[in-house]
């Protein structure tokens, strides 16, 4: 197989780590030196070779360990995966989308053999070889959405479309930035976004919904979102806040480089053909500050973005208390030189740090 999978944890001893390859392809979310909300959607139709945008569902070195972490979260709290009764067809849609995409994009790791409704799915990294009947739930060990998302990195919000709105009627949510499927299940687009500051006033959600309702088959879209996480935790859920919230107070000037992580979500949006629903995969990428600082352009830019971010956003994203310590650390990597436009590391063309 072309990818060497890490054996690592996202809890307890936090042995999670990024290889130089993973750092270079990290989806740095800031395309310029300041940040404000925008709908910032683009077509999800490939991207630079080797980048996280290249394939419909990115598989990287964290795959096997992330799936192990998901299984652990689900065994502790089965309500992280829910599907209302009318969403089963959408679950089959998602299973089909992922199996077809992964077997085409990673033929060395995944195989799908279809003979009418009899499907054989081979997932080599996880050692799975199952034969089942498409659209017959009884032939799978879990419902179709749960089955395939136990084998796919990222959270999945599966949305029903009706009455000119989108409804959070199913999902697999174990790597979330502090929101709860069990709380949001059955809500519409405006209801589940109600806690977000500033964006409502700017009319962002009205425009975003209009855009999403018009996403059509064959034309998926994507955007990046971000927040901050202390320790490489995938499961920063409200259900477990009592376990991870306290860790934000454990940051010191000595450990911030390795403990503080930029958390980036690659959010993609696909129309589901058989159900006319939508799937909203939310893929989480983590990178420690010290690893990010190995890219001079990102060091300069991250300092400027965090320094100039409006207070409401720093509060909402949960790092307002740690911002001064972050800025002390990050300012060491900002020599005031200009940065090139766009998110790419530009290692060959951007000057090294002059300090």
């Amino acid at each position: 197989m072309t990818i060497q999978f890490n054996d690592e944890t996202f809890r307890d001893d936090y042995s999670f780590h990024n290889s130089p390859w993973a750092i270079k392809r990290f989806p740095f979310p800031f395309d310029k030196d300041d940040y404000m909300y925008s709908v910032n959607m683009e077509p999800h139709k490939g991207g630079r070779d080797g980048s996280v945008f290249q394939n419909r569902f990115d598989v990287d070195e964290h795959y096997v360990s992330e799936m192990r972490d998901r299984a652990k979260v689900l065994s502790d709290d089965p309500l992280r995966c829910q599907s209302l009764p009318h969403m089963t067809l959408a679950g089959w849609d998602l299973l089909e989308l992922i199996m077809v995409s992964k077997s085409e994009d990673y033929p060395d790791m995944f195989e799908l053999h279809r003979d009418g409704d009899t499907w054989r799915w081979i997932n080599k990294p996880l050692g799975i070889d199952d034969t089942f009947t498409f659209l017959d739930e009884a032939t799978l060990p879990y419902g179709p959405m749960e089955y395939i998302t136990r084998q796919t990195q990222g959270d999945f919000a599966v949305l029903d479309q009706r009455d000119d709105n989108l409804w959070m009627d199913a999902g697999m949510i174990t790597t979330q930035a502090d929101w709860s499927l069990d709380f949001d299940i059955g809500m519409n687009f405006f209801e589940w976004h109600a806690p977000v500051p500033l964006a409502h006033e700017k009319g962002i959600f009205v425009r975003a919904l209009k855009f999403l309702l018009n996403i059509q088959q064959g034309a998926p879209a994507r955007r990046l979102n971000w927040t901050m996480t202390v320790n490489p935790l995938l499961d920063t859920s409200p259900e477990n806040y009592h376990k991870w919230g306290i860790q934000k107070t454990e940051l010191t000037p000595e450990n911030i480089g390795s403990k503080q992580h930029l958390r980036v979500e690659l959010q993609t949006f696909f129309r589901l053909p058989r159900s006319n629903g939508m799937v909203f995969p939310i893929r989480c990428y983590l990178c420690s500050f010290q690893d990010l600082m190995t890219v001079p352009k990102w060091g300069r830019r991250l300092h400027r973005v965090i320094r100039d971010l409006p207070e409401e956003l720093a509060t909402y994203k949960g790092f307002i208390d740690n911002r001064p310590m972050m800025l002390d650390y990050l300012s060491q990597f900002d020599d005031g030189q200009p940065t090139s436009l766009g998110i790419w590391p530009d290692l060959e063309t951007e000057p090294p740090l002059k300090k």
Partner: protein
């Protein structure tokens, strides 16, 4: 590029069903499978008619599970602008054509305990795909289908043969009429209504359901409008800084596209809202024909749907 993604297909079968309706079958030219779709979806068929390119939406009526071919049924409209006449007279088996990916503006509400369908004439086509989908997934449905005459009753025989207990046919020529109030009175809780057919029928079903207290969310309808011919008019496009002439048999959207301006669209039938355009200046009368904008928006003169609406008067400036 506006509109949904495109697929190149060839015409593999043409079957005249009766005096007015002909069925067309399409398969991909590259031999690959077509995308699956949901019952109620349409495709936009691109017709190269000499120097004119027409883009008309037609409901997909084939089995959504069958990815080998799509089928549509086209009713000939002798008074129309020529799209259906082109399909009937010019298209031959073996021709290469371009379809859009399926787009669904008339989807089933999958929460429904029962789906109650009302079809009028050629409005039967989306229900043919929805019935196949529900048969496959075990959904409960019932169809009430009004046709002008036995001779023009497309797919009546297939439907009544296969589903004698679920399909009810009403012929105008026999003075048969759907007993709507009675039907709506006896439905189980959680039933959803779907209607596709002539404007009058859609209005009748929606109003009757509303009067009887049915929730708005449980009543679904689809009506594609064909753009209508009208007097030629002139339009200024403010952003692209162009003055264009809209011909008698051309829609405003088509004239904008002919001028090389990429304008958003999806259904091209006044239903989806994609082509909604702001009016910068208007000295005259906008002839609104869509059912996307509401009455207040129509009256305001601030918005127009260029796929079906026209203009009469001195000056019209659009934000495009």
């Amino acid at each position: 590029m506006s509109g949904a993604e495109k697929i190149t297909v060839k015409v593999t079968d043409i079957v005249p069903l009766n005096e007015l309706v002909t069925r067309f079958k399409f398969e991909r030219t590259d031999g690959a499978l077509l995308p699956t779709f949901s019952g109620g979806a349409h495709t936009v068929v691109e017709m190269k008619d000499g120097s004119v390119t027409r883009l008309n939406p037609y409901s997909l009526m084939s089995d959504p599970m069958d990815q080998r071919a799509y089928t549509i049924s086209v009713r000939r409209d002798d008074q129309g602008r020529g799209g259906s006449l082109f399909m009937h007279r010019k298209v031959k088996v073996g021709d290469e054509m371009t379809l859009s990916y399926p787009v669904n503006l008339f989807a089933l509400d999958l929460r429904a305990k029962k789906h109650l369908f009302f079809a009028g004439g050629i409005g039967i086509t989306p229900f043919l795909a929805q019935i196949k989908q529900l048969e496959r997934t075990g959904g409960k449905w019932e169809l009430h289908y009004a046709c002008r005459s036995h001779a023009l009753g497309s797919y009546v025989d297939e439907l009544t043969d296969k589903y004698p207990n679920q399909v009810h046919i009403y012929y105008d020529e026999n003075d048969q009429k759907i007993n709507l109030e009675h039907l709506l009175d006896g439905q189980p809780l959680g039933t959803h209504i779907y209607v596709c057919g002539p404007k009058g029928m859609i209005g009748w079903v929606r109003e009757t359901a509303a009067t009887l207290g049915w929730p708005r969310e449980a009543v679904h309808y689809e009506e594609f409008l064909a753009p209508q011919s009208g007097k030629p008019f002139e339009v200024k496009l403010a952003i692209s800084n162009k003055v264009i002439q809209v011909g008698e048999h051309e829609s405003l959207l088509e004239a904008i596209e002919r001028a090389g301006v990429d304008a958003p669209y999806l259904c091209r039938g006044g239903a989806c809202g994609q082509c909604e355009t702001d009016v910068v200046e208007c000295d005259g009368k906008i002839l609104h024909r869509d059912h996307w904008l509401d009455d207040a928006e129509h009256a305001s003169g601030k918005k127009i749907m260029p796929c079906v609406s026209r203009f009469e008067g001195k000056t019209l400036v659009l934000d495009r």
